[in-house]
């Protein structure tokens, strides 16, 4: 029988959702995000990914900065650290450095990452700290009510750009590639299944993985990064894209009118933890 013609029974479907177990990764707190906010997809995608990879919640730490995106840890049932604006990565680095056995996921908004936090990204990337960094990019400062962010488009009108934004936005994926992050990908909140796949893949990568997630702020952005615009804007990476080729990845990222979804670059190299173990070995010590 054709899969798509099978009738769907609500009760059955609910049982299925409960049974698959990913709901266990949700906390009891109800998200404080606006209805329709792209961030709901992240919670769903993240819990699905954890479930699929079979990671125990108690061995997972979600670290965030400050912003709507950074409220994320409160809504998942793992250990969590809601830190300071922009300090997601150094705190996450400290956690991973102290306990290699933990799965550490860093989460933040575009402002948290690329405005106040911009100085930490190159270093987490070059050291290849074995964590996953999910940036929820809505091109705006959501929590403080809609000011321009470093990824806001030229011409965007916000309370701090009443005469339209003039600053050229940053290109986060290009930046991450230039830091030679060892895994770089992009997803979109409007494609939740692909998003879940990408989160799982990013987390499975050994080393620093960076996933850029396009996500509309339905409350403060009615014109730019909306679902309507993104739905038609995004494209898949070409099937023949070579994800081991840095310059090819850069070429894909440079063609940014139509943001590509998928994995741009991937490379296996020693992590910070590996470097630490090697240093201990050279010193004649025993790794803990």
């Amino acid at each position: 029988m054709n899969e798509h013609l099978k009738p769907v029974y609500l009760e059955e479907k609910l049982d299925e959702i409960r049974a698959d177990g990913h709901q266990d990764y949700r906390s009891k707190a109800i998200p404080t995000w606006c209805p329709g906010c792209g961030y709901y997809s992240m919670t769903e995608g993240f819990t699905m990914a954890l479930n699929r990879l079979g990671i125990e919640p108690e061995n997972t730490v979600v670290v965030s900065g400050i912003g709507c995106a950074s409220r994320f840890p409160f809504f998942v049932n793992t250990y969590g650290f809601h830190t300071l604006h922009g300090r997601t990565l150094p705190v996450a680095t400290g956690i991973k450095q102290a306990n290699d056995a933990l799965t550490v996921v860093a989460v933040g908004g575009d402002g948290d990452a690329f405005a106040i936090g911009a100085g930490h990204i190159p270093h987490a990337a070059r050291r290849n700290v074995d964590i996953t960094y999910l940036v929820f990019d809505n091109g705006i400062y959501g929590l403080t009510k809609g000011q321009a962010s470093p990824t806001s488009a030229v011409g965007f009108k916000t309370p701090t750009t009443p005469y339209d934004n003039c600053d050229q936005p940053l290109n986060p994926l290009m930046m991450l590639l230039s830091y030679r992050a060892s895994w770089v990908g992009q997803a979109y909140a409007g494609r939740p299944h692909h998003l879940a796949d990408m989160i799982a893949e990013a987390m499975a990568h050994r080393g620093f993985s960076y996933l850029h997630i396009l996500s509309p702020c339905v409350t403060f952005d009615k014109t730019d990064m909306t679902y309507a615009n993104l739905d038609v804007g995004v494209r898949d990476l070409p099937g023949d894209h070579d994800r081991t080729d840095l310059l090819a990845a850069m070429a894909q990222v440079e063609a940014k009118e139509a943001p590509a979804l998928g994995v741009f670059f991937e490379e296996g190299r020693p992590t910070l933890g590996d470097a630490m173990i090697e240093t201990i070995r050279r010193a004649g010590g025993q790794a803990a």
């Binding site: 108690e58 730490v61 670290v63 201990i280």
Partner: protein
Amino acid sequence: MKKNANDTDIQIAICGSAGDGTIAAGDILKRAMSLQGYKVIAFDLYPAEIRGFGKCISRIRISSGQTYSLKPQSDALVSLNDPHAIPHVVEVRDYGAVIYEDTPMARIPEGGHISAHVRPAQIPYGLGIRHISEQATGSARSRNIVVLGYMAGLLGMTRDVFHQTIGEKFKTKAPAVAEQNLKAFDAGYDLATRVFRLDTIEIKPPRHTKSGADAVMMTGNGAVVRGFLDAGIDNYFGYPITPATSIMERLTVEMPKTGGRVLQTEDEISAIAATIGAGYTGARTATATSGPGLALMAEMVGLGVMAEVPSVIVVSQRGGPSTGLPTKTEQSDLNMAVFGGAGDAQRIVLAPTNVEGCYKCAGKAFEIAEKFQTPVIVLLDLYLSNRYETVIPPKRNPFLRKPEKKIAVRNGNGAYKRFAATADHVSPRSVPGEPGLMHTVTGLEHNEMGRPSDLPEVHLAMSHKRHKKLKGALNLRGLTLCKRFGDEGEVDVGILGWGSTFGEILEAMYAAQSEGIRCSAMKVVMLSPLPIEQIAAFHDDCGEVLVPELNYEGQFAGLVSGELGRPVTRLSQVTGAPMRVEEILNEVRRLSGKQSPARKTKQQDTGDERALEAGLS
């Protein structure tokens, strides 16, 4: 504790320019004397610039009894470079020795030779240092060792121990190097034994010769490193900054040997952020910095307070404000250490007063941070970080290596309350990896579950909890939080002090006592929360309370007055140098009504109107 007049107590100053081997000669002297069981206190001054021929001076005090600081006057000055050494001739006491090159290389301008500056009561010893070095070793490079030998011979120091020390110092180099240096030493030493000695200095045997083998020379920073290692530090994150850098440099060598991890971060914000991240996992983690770095850490320390995550931050102060005087000492980061955060963000601040205290405070800081779940700042300054003292390391590791912690459990209805109210206001903590006790910590105000809440009653209760729990730190065992020295009961003048300056305070207090002034001194190690009861009791006993410190504003004085609501007399000095004992003593005399007439002239001479003013405020 009082000094025995029969004991050895001599101080040598060696002065040269960078490259002359000044510090190296001082180093041999310190080690040789320490090896024999003498107490040694030493402090070196380096030039601020990397390049060039800036002044180096090494001052070493050697005594059989306990002393607490350098003496204002040295018993001998050794010059390896006259232009640098000339200003220090006045520091030599009457009948003290000035040792110098008497056959200078080139023509020198009038007054350029040190012999022209030796005062009538001082005893000049000129010798052909360069010539002797060349004769003994074939090169002028051993001038520093020749003159060291001369000085040792002159003062009757034991030759063998120097031989042993020189041998050790050069044991990683080619054997010829040690040999050359031994020859240089002996050439100087032999010469001195043939010299007619006019001076009264004598080296008497140390009190506890046996302990020499156990004693080690250590700087404050070295002691911090030892304390960290003995307390089982797991992680260190740091960013280089004078005068804290050497802590990281030594830890990068030592920690990996026992599986520890060190990361040089991209800045100080990352260093403290990673320290707190690691602290969240339950690991013993520290960072070290100086004033500018602590300023950058201010926001993150506040997060540590709010999220109740342990962390240890060593701060070695230098001259400020701003980049200030990176290679000079000062105690002017106190206000920032205690008050430098947004909101009511009280933290624990400890300030050791000597090298041994550095060891104890650094090691204990982990226990304290874990016990009270909060950041602990250990406040040193350049003078304490870099000064050498002889320390007898403890036989048994004095630190608890495993955190004593309350065991977190899920309560009845299955919810774990990370910030549960308890009798001592400290809540049971769980760390990542423990099943069923997942929670999220945050810098937002939060309820017992750790969920953000801005309800009035929650904020009130949690502010209460965060402050009250710290009061428990005033009952800590195994660390001196404050201590009174000198006369008991009512006294004319009490000196209240903190940090590196307390050595000078003790010296001044003993001097004042010997002049018949009833005098006590109290050191305060725990600066936040303040042991205010003990301070108040001390204040009650003292006719006047003097607070000498190395900052302009009288920061500790303000802190104490602010909590006590009573006046104290401030004595401030901001020259980049350690406090002068004489300065404190003069204030004590003035306050006790026994002002020495000499004082007035001296003040006018130096034009130091500030010190006077401050003293009066």
